[in-house]
Symmetry: C2
Subunit: 443 residues, 2 copies
Amino acid sequence: MEFLSGTTAKETMELHDLMAEECIGKTVRVNGAVHSVRDMGEVSFVVLRKREGLLQCVFEEGTSVLSAKEIREAQTVELTGTVEKDERAPHGIELRVTGGEILTTPYAPLPLPVGKWKMSTSLEAKLDSRSISLRNIRERAKFRIQEGIVRGFRDFLYSQQFTEIHTPKIGAKGAEGGSNIFRLEYFHHPAVLAQSPQFYKQMMVGVFDRVFETAPVFRAEKHNTKRHLNEYTSLDFEMGYIDSFHDIMEMETGFLQYTMRLLEKEYADELKILGVTLPDTERIPMVRFDTAKQLVSEKYNRKIKNPYDLEPEEETLIGQYFKEEYNADFVFVTHYPSKKRPFYAMDDPADPKFTLSFDLLFHGLEITTGGQRIHDYQELRRKIAARGMSEEGMDQYLDTFKYGMPPHGGLGIGLERLTMKLVREDNVRETTLFPRDLSRLEP
Amino acid sequence: MEFLSGTTAKETMELHDLMAEECIGKTVRVNGAVHSVRDMGEVSFVVLRKREGLLQCVFEEGTSVLSAKEIREAQTVELTGTVEKDERAPHGIELRVTGGEILTTPYAPLPLPVGKWKMSTSLEAKLDSRSISLRNIRERAKFRIQEGIVRGFRDFLYSQQFTEIHTPKIGAKGAEGGSNIFRLEYFHHPAVLAQSPQFYKQMMVGVFDRVFETAPVFRAEKHNTKRHLNEYTSLDFEMGYIDSFHDIMEMETGFLQYTMRLLEKEYADELKILGVTLPDTERIPMVRFDTAKQLVSEKYNRKIKNPYDLEPEEETLIGQYFKEEYNADFVFVTHYPSKKRPFYAMDDPADPKFTLSFDLLFHGLEITTGGQRIHDYQELRRKIAARGMSEEGMDQYLDTFKYGMPPHGGLGIGLERLTMKLVREDNVRETTLFPRDLSRLEP
């Protein structure tokens, strides 16, 4: 009988091993995809794309059993050669090729110039050939950064004793209600796709105290803007035993600080490729909704049209104001009007027209909505009734409160938006692997 | 202007801090939910449920400002007292209460005996009151173990240079095709819910070499069994530059070994609560599909009805066989018949009736399906044609291969099934927070 006993060491080497001092002068084997080929006559430079970055491979006439003439862009290959230092090459090393083999060969020339540093290809064209355009080093790097954000979110929350949960995306009723719900038939019953894990994460606070989820959410919104998606990844957490909704903002600040350090440490190559300067997360200003509107109105001579609503332009100006006045990249805007928040938001006892809630703006764009929730069963039912809503389909959610819940609150972060702002893109589709919008359902 | 600068230390203490030697005899504050109350006359024992476990709090008449008479099950409270050692109490400590306050009070007595060690409540009743039944310590522990599995999966794959991806769950076409697809309307276009991230993770192998995703998948299967769900969490990975499909099984073995060590180290309390003995992952036997059928047929006197199919009873017997003969908890069954595998599975060049694929059985239950995939564009198209399938809607998937792909393969693991087997449950709904099946769409 044959047995498997774990991963075995591979003969082929990865980039960071090759860069080690003891590797210089050694004969090694590497694999990768041919990213670009530059034929200089007697010498050819073949750049391999590996998962950690690019590796320059030099073919000199007569020294390699495998001829550079056989090498074409987008092949995958396995090469043998010696590692040498070369300051001009990516990562300061190159492979002097002595032999190798071609693993696979494409059937057509690439439709996009992925081997270039900047592709200058339109967003539409990039999305139409997503599995090709992402082979570009800069395009790919954005999603490595995105990984770092999710990883930072989870690792920080694990350290704060949160439990990760997985809640269903098909349900009988939407958490927020309204018209922005995708509907489907579930074995002859009407069903909806989850707009958020809101009800479930609250229900789980009574079990685990602190919970989080990183999962897709679905919004049938008919907005066709640079910042809206109809499916996105939501980073959600909910925590019990809070003293005030400031605890939630403090937790988010902690997450941002942890994540920036993680990116600096583990994703330095990608930050460099994209030329990203990390934002300041050491101290994040906090301003009331009404005060923010007032400040912006005064400084930029803008009339307040509706004291209970925030227009996108106002958000942008609040971002600008805090950058100019406090050199702040982020700002927490607190105490949103009650009528703009869902029924489960806790009203401010000092003035019930406003809620104990907040948005976090990053350079003037909302990337988080959060706040304290109502934890008292009767208060929750009163608010549902006052809004003219029905309790139908909310039995288990409401029962959770009937049988006791601690004071709690939480938030949801839009992963693609946070990534977009971090890497300084201006369309959220640039930082979404396969975006879903009003006109895009493929690939 | 007010600023936030990260999480601030809380006055209230958590269980592991309380258990520290220097805490004994100190006056502390703790919060939690009242898990059970035992009134012994002059002394009352109130057990608090905290996120790390249970804490016994002792009220002696006359020593506490807050009377034990006010304490009721399912309240949330904040108590003050001194920490003392007591071998009979959970974790060997108790709190001698001197005062405190009630944070919240329930409106009705709990419908389930969650304070008991074993609830002996039916699965249906537990699911009907999910947010209550999970407050039981044993019920809750299963999902802490589940967290450990997902965490182990990700952390191990990060260490193996995989990149995490987030692929869309709404699409124009299912990866596997067939009738088991949930359909919905997407802005007046027909759409489906993803059965798996198969196409996307393959497309991303050409970008990142190695990718993984932990996300929900949707199967409109009409099976009503103990091991089927219509929505579950799939742990998927896909890796390029493999030498053979053994690389994939080695990676999975590595994941299992890493995860068992993580559970042992970080989830010891939960393993103890559930009385779980971790399975052996050091060496996992590997057997061909046809050989496995033969071995089971001989040993258990069972006639082989169909040489190209594996019945659930046969799976169970294969598990039994390898437990009896090799004391193995897991077994890789390889070379599944081509007609039982999807079109993208790579056939075995030595005998194209079989594929370079595998299932992993855990005590006789399939928890993983994986294998090598076809990477040659024309071979893929030939197989699609040979199956009488249409290429419609697969343009971007197929283009990925036209423009060059490395040899690759991957797998998908059913998280709820793996959890179920690990904690020795016999119904997958026991290890699903909010199961979705033929008859259950709520909560």
